[in-house]
């Protein structure tokens, strides 16, 4: 049965992307969509620009609704065409949650259950889009800096496409996440230090190796995959925007691309003028975005040493942090900064009321929704969507071949991995 599904997906005519180039978010200059990953003019972040005016809403809706049951149904709104072979990533359930809703005091509560992706987290989405670009470029190695979930997504995607993978994680990453990445055959590089220190190392390595670092050199493509959660929510709600969406924030890419998705759906006429409030959810032990929002929309202050059980959100220096604060403010949203105890209680409440077991990041979202409900942010009759982005099941690493932990140092990396770098 699975074979037939894949065969059917592969027979679908590959659709062209309406990508017209990259636009710099800082200086606004439109530039070619080549292998650059920062603005050539000002070093600012670049994002895909599209010719959406050429899309007809009726035809687009038909095309999407008759597309594959994966994120590639939205290929007309993505920067790269659907690859010939891929996982069925995305098109995850949007569940009604009446029992949890009753507990939180929210009458129209929905769960976007992205734990159903192939490696049990939403990271399969951005990786799917980045991988499609890596295949276009003919790269033989993909890599990432990760708090855990991305490592597994990159490792699995590499395995499925016969690529080599290097995934770099902080040494305190949950064992289950290290295990899954190792199981797919990736070189799991455990680094002494925080995610931000791992990230610095990878920024350096991205310069020195011709690899596809999904969250560096492929980032303009990678980040676009995150739009598809909101696309799916709108379609599953009958092409209607939710009134509220509560988004976990690590780097801020998911939150900012949620706003991009709202804007694009409006621009192409797939949804009407409903307002969508975008709320940020962070753990108190690493809440640079939520703290900035709740403290009068000030600039983000980086957190030097995150301390939270929600390790997948432990990014102290979020690259899309300031933009996330702007998005929350402009959408007339709010934010939550919740304690580890509240996170644990929320994971339990979600599991016991709706049968959905999530990692602590999901608990952050549920606990934030509880706080927002108590503040009177949600009104009767409004739809509230919670993004649940990671599964709670990842297990112990067992006997996988893990190398020694290294310092965040390129030379030590090179010596420890000399034999596989040849």
């Amino acid at each position: 049965m699975t074979t037939k599904i894949f065969a059917a997906e592969q027979s679908i005519e590959r659709r062209r992307s309406p990508l017209t180039g990259f636009k710099c978010r800082a200086c606004g200059v439109l530039q070619p969509a080549d292998d650059r990953y920062v603005c050539a003019e000002c070093f600012g972040p670049i994002e895909p620009a599209y010719d959406l005016a050429s899309l007809d809403a009726t035809a687009l809706r038909f095309e999407i609704e008759n597309g594959p049951r994966s994120l590639w149904r939205y290929a007309p709104l993505l920067p790269v065409a659907e690859p010939k072979s891929h996982y069925p990533v995305g098109w995850t359930p949007l569940l009604t949650a009446p029992r949890l809703g009753a507990l939180l005091g929210v009458d129209r509560l929905y769960l976007k259950d992205d734990t159903h992706n192939p490696t049990l987290s939403f990271k399969d989405r951005p990786v799917a889009v980045a991988l499609a670009r890596a295949l276009e470029l003919g790269l033989d190695t993909i890599a990432c800096a990760s708090t855990g979930n991305l490592a597994g997504a990159v490792a699995a995607a590499a395995a499925r496409n016969g690529l080599r993978a290097f995934v770099f994680v902080p040494e305190n990453t949950e064992p289950g996440k290290i295990a899954s990445a190792a199981a797919y055959g990736a070189h799991v590089v455990r680094v002494r230090g925080t995610y931000d220190q791992v990230n610095r190392l990878c920024g350096r390595l991205a310069d020195e190796h011709g690899w596809g670092f999904v969250n560096f050199t492929l980032r303009p493509y990678y980040a676009e995959g995150s739009k598809t959660l909101l696309f799916e929510c709108a379609e599953q709600l009958g092409w209607t925007l939710p009134h509220h969406v509560v988004v976990p924030v690590g780097s801020g890419a998911l939150l900012t691309r949620t706003a991009t998705a709202v804007s694009q759906l409006r621009e192409v006429g797939l949804v009407n003028g409903e307002h969508c409030h975008i709320h940020a959810a962070q753990p108190a032990g690493c809440a640079p975005v939520s703290d900035a929002a709740l403290d009068g929309w000030r600039d983000v202050r980086p957190v030097r040493t995150p301390d939270t059980i929600a390790k997948s959100l432990a990014i102290g220096s979020p690259s899309d942090g300031d933009r996330s604060v702007e998005v929350v403010r402009d959408s007339r949203g709010s934010a939550g900064s919740v304690s580890d105890a509240e996170i644990v209680a929320a994971v339990h409440d979600l599991a016991t009321t709706e049968g959905v077991f999530v990692e602590p990041a999901g608990g952050v979202v549920v606990a934030t929704a509880r706080a927002l409900a108590e503040r009177g942010v949600f009104h009767t009759g409004e739809t509230v969507v919670l993004y649940l982005t990671g599964n709670g099941y990842k297990q112990e690493p067992g006997a996988f071949d893990l190398r020694a932990v290294i310092a965040p140092d390129a030379e030590e990396f090179a010596s420890t991995y000399a034999e596989v770098l040849r």
């Binding site: 990953y37 050539a40 000002c42 855990g148 931000d196 610095r200 969250n215 990014i315 899309d320």
Partner: protein, 88 residues
Amino acid sequence: MSVIRVPAPLRATVGGRTTVPIEASDLRSLPAAIGATYPDLAARVVQDGAFGRFVSVFVDGEDARFLPPETSLVETKVVELLPAVSGG
């Protein structure tokens, strides 16, 4: 004297070099020193006398935002410039 490690997207501003020397007494004076010595590089990473929000600066591996402005750069140190990109 310290050394600036220049990321690939910015190397064209310093004649294609991977590293360039920089004379700056401390972290506070570093943006101005870059402006005086490498104006094309400064045009991309310095705004209003300070590093822009889209560049991450590290001194011997430490995020410069966590270091005091008087951090000395007289002894040989490595200043790393990287795009402010993350997402794990």
